[in-house]
Symmetry: C2
Subunit: 299 residues, 2 copies
C-alpha cells in the first residue's frame, strides 16, 4: 500500500518504521525534517504534507495537538492541498494524534467534502507501545474505511477497536484519559489516607489488589507512589493536554466533570512545583503537599 | 474452639453459621434476638454480650457502625464486663465491623489493658461473599493473635491479609472504599462524556477494558451504568457511611481528600432523589442530573 506518514516524533518514528518493515511504500514528512535513518530504512522523504497526500493513498498524521492537525491538514502545502491537486477521490486520512473529538468531526466533514474518507485513530500505550507495535488503537469512522486501513493498524497495535462513527475514537481516548487520571487520584487519596493513619501503604496496596478496588493503575502507579519512581512513563504535561480536551469538551457539550477538574488542578500544582515532566502518577505529590505528608513516610 | 459471635444481621448470620458448620462451639448474641434456625444449627444463645465474652475464647463482633461497637464492647453487660468477670486473660476480641480506624485504636488499647488481644478485621464482599465464605478480610493486630484466629477466618473468607498493627485493617477497608467510590465516579464521568459526545458508551467501555483504564469497577459497574441495573449490590447509604469514615478520618489526621469529598456529595445528591438503597454504581445518576443527560441515551 502507498502510505503517507506525517509527524515523526517519539511515537511517529517507530510507527512509520513498522509500516516500512511491513512492506509498504511509506512517504514521510516531519516539520523537523526526515532523518537519514528513516530514508536508509526505505522511507521516501517528502518536502511537505501536500506532497505526501499527493503520493499516498492512506495518509496518517501523528502530531501533538488539535492546532497541529488543523495546520497539517488544511494549512499551506497541507494534506488537503495534496488531495485536491491529485483528484484524490477515495483516499483515506487517518489521524492518530490525540486531539479534540469535536474539532475532529469538523476536520472529517471538510475531508469528506473532497470525496475522501477520514478516520480518527488515537492510541494509548506510549513510546513503549509504539516501539513494540503493541498500541491500543481507538477508531472512529466508517466500517468500509476501517477495513481498508486495518492491515496498517495490525502492524502498529494489538487492541484495535472501531468504536463508532467519526470522532468516536477521540472521544474514547478522552474517556480513557479521564479514567486513568481519576484512578491515579483515587489511589493517591487512598494510599495517603492509609499512610497518614499509620498503615504500611505497600501492604495496603497488596491487600487491595486482591479485591474489588483492584486496577492496572493500583498495580502499576500504586507501586510508583510507594517506591517513589516518578520518572516517566507518561509526562504530566501530556496528561494535562488530555484533561484539557475533556474539560473544554465538557463545557462545549454542557456537562460537568467535577473530579476531572480537580485532577487537572492537582496536575497544575505539580507543574507549579517543576513537575511538568514527572510521571503522571506523581499527581499524588499534589495531595501530599496539601497534607504535608508523604505516602512513603509511614513505610 | 469456643467462639463468640455478636451481631447476626445480613452479614453476621451466614458468617456465624460457617463457624458452627466448621465444628466450633459458637455463643451467639444479637440485639434483635437469636433466631431459632441458628439454635437448631447448633449455636448457643446468650442473653447479652457479657455472657458471650464469659463463655468464649475468641469474641467476634459484626455490627453496623463505630458507636455500635463501642456499646457492645464497653456498654452495660458488654464484652468488657464479660472479660473482666471471667479473668479473661488471653482472650481475643475480633471486630469484623467496618468502623473508624482511629477509634479502633482506642478500643484496642482498652481491651489490651484487660490482658486481652484485639484484632480489627473488616471485610469486603458483601452478603454474597458472606454466604459463600468468600470474603476479603483485612486485618490489623499482632501476628500471634492473627495466627490464633486464622482457622476461623479461613472458614469465612478467601483473601485474608494481616495489613499491620491494630487499626490497619480498618484503615485498609477505608482505603478500599475510597478507591471503589472514586473509580465508580471516574467511570461515570468518562461514560457520560462519551455518551454526550455521541459515542456508544457500551463500545467505549469495551474498548477501554483492553487497556490501561481497565478495572473491576469498569467491568462490573460500567456495565451497570450502560444497562441501568441499579438494584444492589452495595447500597449507597452504606458507602456513604464508609466515605464518612474517610472524610472524618482525614479531618482528624489533617489531610485533604478532595475527590472523596465530591463523591460523597454525589452520593448525597442520589439520596436526595430517593436513592439511599440504589446500588453505589448509581452515583453516575448524580452526574447525569447535573448534565441533564443519561449515559444510556446515546446507545
Amino acid at each position: 500500500m502507498k502510505v503517507g506518514f506525517i509527524g515523526l516524533g517519539i511515537m511517529g518514528k517507530p510507527m512509520a518504521r513498522h509500516l516500512i518493515n511491513g512492506g509498504h511504500t511509506v512517504y514521510l514528512f516531519s516539520r523537523s525534517g526526515v532523518t537519514q535513518d528513516m530514508i536508509d530504512a526505505g522511507g521516501k522523504s517528502c518536502t511537505n504534507a501536500k506532497d505526501v497526500a499527493h503520493n499516498a493513498d492512506v495518509i496518517i498524521t501523528m502530531v501533538p495537538d488539535t492546532p497541529d492537525v488543523e495546520k497539517v491538514l488544511f494549512g499551506r502545502d497541507g494534506v488537503a492541498a495534496g488531495l485536491s491537486t491529485d483528484h484524490g477521490t477515495g483516499k483515506i486520512v487517518v489521524d492518530m494524534s490525540s486531539i479534540s473529538p469535536i474539532e475532529t468531526k469538523q476536520f472529517a466533514a471538510r475531508i469528506n467534502k473532497m470525496q475522501c474518507e477520514y478516520i480518527d485513530a488515537p492510541v494509548s500505550g506510549g513510546e513503549v507501545g509504539a516501539k513494540n507495535a503493541a498500541l491500543t488503537i481507538m477508531c472512529g469512522g466508517s466500517e468500509a474505511a476501517f477495513a481498508k486501513v486495518m492491515p496498517l493498524f495490525d502492524l502498529l497495535g494489538k487492541n484495535i477497536t472501531l468504536v463508532g462513527g467519526v470522532g468516536s475514537g477521540q472521544t474514547c481516548k478522552v474517556a480513557n484519559q479521564i479514567i486513568v487520571a481519576l484512578t491515579i487520584e483515587a489511589v493517591g487519596e487512598a494510599l495517603l489516607f492509609a499512610s497518614k493513619a499509620g498503615a504500611d501503604p505497600a501492604r495496603v496496596r497488596q491487600a487491595l489488589m486482591g479485591g474489588f478496588a483492584n486496577s492496572r493503575i493500583l498495580e502499576v502507579h500504586g507501586e510508583r507512589m510507594v517506591k517513589r519512581t516518578f520518572t516517566p512513563g507518561f509526562r504530566i504535561e501530556l496528561h494535562q493536554k488530555d484533561l484539557n480536551l475533556a474539560l473544554s469538551g465538557a463545557r462545549a457539550l454542557g456537562i460537568s466533570l467535577p473530579n476531572t477538574a480537580t485532577a487537572q488542578e492537582l496536575f497544575n500544582s505539580c507543574v507549579a512545583h517543576g513537575g511538568a515532566a514527572w510521571d503522571h502518577s506523581a499527581m499524588v505529590r499534589a495531595l501530599e503537599m496539601m497534607a504535608n505528608h508523604e505516602v512513603a513516610k509511614a513505610a
